[in-house]
Symmetry: C2
């Protein structure tokens, strides 16, 4: 079973609120369709849909003022909107996608998923469908509400359902030796072990910066899955063919995390 | 706790696919806002969103052909679309509505809800929010998938959460002595006991017709809740002020079902 995460930066126009990147969504839907998706779960981020509203109402910090409930619901509504665009695009390309709304079946505890009922996801996979989930505004037993990130959802599902592979599709090529936007000599790292990753995290902490070019949060979250034997690959989903190749298990430009 | 069911005929244009009745939705949102919704659950039907697609793909009859999975997902997508319009309208009027997607947490068994986890709904109600659910295409353990009607959802939630009142808002004034579209002398029945209802059902079965003017299915489904002491009132939600009056517990044109 594979999990494909599509970052908000790829499927939305990050600079314009509530604007989908329809070109990327259509191309990626075709790539997924061409692989003939079997035993695939998709999870997408919020980009210019969920993030601006969640930030404005401080949803990730939890309940402080009654007026935040409106923002909590509006954040979810924005994600429902983006999810509808994506699932419709997948269906148009023949991918048997089915939307699952995280806030309808997940409650977090201090921002982390506690119990997770995967019966419905297993049933959908068993029928050959592609469950499509997303980062969402969810109820939280400690702080009232919280933001459940798509990355946390990916990791939890990968561990619970024993995924074979996770493909992270973002707008960067993978993990770099330094931030490629700042350092000309920065090189893409094709394979990165947990030990090397740990070293980079420490260097980053010492320098108080993310030396990987913005991928540190993601790779830190991914470490547990890598340790459990899940193949984790980071590719640039903004470049044609890379997600498709990664899903096929073919060699592709990107970074593979290894034990 | 009250449950308000809004029929698809009121919130959509039944004759035009995927067309919301925005005028009714806005007016009803204002009525609900003016009551100051506390301890309220809303459930809506599909009208011209869910029904045509579900019918075309024969979703309610369960899995027969692989191509139906696409129709199953498309039916859900249409309901997500309608739900988004309604929740957005409620939020615009200041109602702290929050969408819950039935297919994300309910699996039916031979078309009936078996287990129902109401923890999330209780938590939303506890926070002063208005959970908004809908009739949906859901997974079914016996027949693959099924249509979970909004009416079944209303009844199950009313019983599980011990609702005080159910308001059914449809496009007719209530239960009639005969079909008002066919019989000029048809009179609206302001109060109808279960015993009288049972008599009407038998007359209807004998004549092989619905003597109540189309409300028979609904009132039969409602009988269990009525027997358990829930106040059930049927009003015309297409007429201004009736849903509002019913939610306030005021006297209003319609039919009250009694034990």
């Amino acid at each position: 079973m594979q999990i494909l995460k599509l970052g908000g930066s790829v499927i939305t126009d990050k600079n314009t609120p509530l604007t989908a990147n329809n070109e990327n969504i259509k191309r990626l839907s075709k790539e997924i369709a061409s692989v003939g998706p079997q035993q695939l779960i998709m999870i997408h981020g919020g980009g210019s849909f969920g993030h601006p509203i969640a930030k404005r109402h401080e949803i990730s910090e939890g309940y402080k003022r009654p007026d935040q409930w409106q923002g909590f619901s509006r954040t979810h509504q924005a994600m429902v909107h983006l999810n509808k665009i994506i699932v419709d695009a997948l269906l148009d390309e023949g991918v048997p996608a089915f939307s699952l709304s995280p806030s309808s079946f997940i409650v977090t505890e201090a921002r982390r998923i506690n119990e997770l009922d995967t019966a419905k996801i297993r049933r959908l996979l068993g029928a050959g469908l592609v469950p499509v989930l997303y980062g969402d505004a969810v109820l939280d037993t400690q702080q009232g509400f919280a933001i459940l990130s798509g990355d946390q959802l990916v990791m939890r599902l990968a561990m619970t359902l024993s995924a074979d592979r996770i493909v992270f599709g973002s707008d960067v090529d993978g993990v770099y030796t330094a931030d490629p936007k700042l350092v000309k000599e920065a090189r893409l790292i094709p394979r990165l072990s947990l030990k090397e990753l740990d070293g980079m995290v420490r260097i980053g902490e010492a320098l108080n910066t993310d030396v990987t070019g913005g991928m540190l949060g993601k790779v830190k979250e991914a470490a547990e899955a890598v340790a459990a034997g899940v193949e984790v690959i980071l590719v640039n989903a903004g470049q044609a063919g890379r997600v498709e190749a990664a899903l096929r298990g073919e060699k592709v430009m990107g970074t593979v995390l290894t034990r």
